[in-house]
Symmetry: C2
Subunit: 140 residues, 2 copies
């Protein structure tokens, strides 16, 4: 492989990472939490933003991913990939897994987050996924 | 309103509808269904395609939306809107509701499917939603 090819590959990876976004619901709380307590969703969003530093992954706070019964919630996607929604996250421990999932997805040539190497919480916490805009029909 | 304005509005509506897609999982079955029985997800996909005729809404078959525990599953979105995942759908009765939801979303200027007027099954069956690509931060 020529040096120019390596540079091109690196450029492509940087571009993919830049479009990679983790959306964290800041309204999410456990059913047992009082309404006026600090929201663990917000704590997860802040921890995820810290974990994203230097990775090029964008972290966005969102008010609701409509996964309230299985909080805490986050979604991951890049431009042109499938979008993934995760639930059952922990504010204290799962920020790094979200960033790792985002980086796995950014590197996936087929736009699908690989199962192999995926953090455990992004396996057991998978809620749903949505195809990319240019997705074509799959048939029986 | 001048006639030209009306034409322009109609063009905009047609364009929004054209980019409107319903993804129906064709693998979905009830837990009690035998593995080799015809999949009710496929029946829902076919019924939805029939219900879409003449509306401009695109219906795409997909192998898995990762909502298997709360099947039958479908997702709806337009270019630039939030994407919605629904579960607990019935093959025999819910195709028209999916198309109605898609048309509501296509007409929504804020990219959010309105609650008012939304078919009941798209209220109680809401699994999750994902922001559009150009979504910006919401803050506490």
């Amino acid at each position: 492989m020529a040096l120019a090819d390596i540079d091109q590959d690196e450029d492509a990876t940087v571009e993919a990472i830049t479009s990679t976004t983790v959306y964290v619901c800041i309204t999410c709380r456990r059913a047992s939490d009082p309404e006026d307590a600090p929201r663990p969703g917000l704590a997860l969003a802040r921890a995820t933003a810290r974990a994203a530093e230097g990775t090029g992954v964008t972290v966005r706070q969102v008010h609701c991913l409509a996964n309230c019964n299985r909080a805490l919630s986050a979604a991951i996607r890049c431009d042109g990939t499938w979008a993934y929604v995760f639930g059952g996250l922990e504010a204290e421990s799962d920020a790094a897994a979200l960033i790792e999932g985002a980086r796995l997805l950014a590197r996936a040539e087929d736009g699908i987050m690989p199962w192999r190497g995926r953090p455990e919480v992004l396996k057991r916490g998978l809620i749903a996924r949505v195809p990319p805009l240019d997705f074509m029909q799959e048939t029986e």
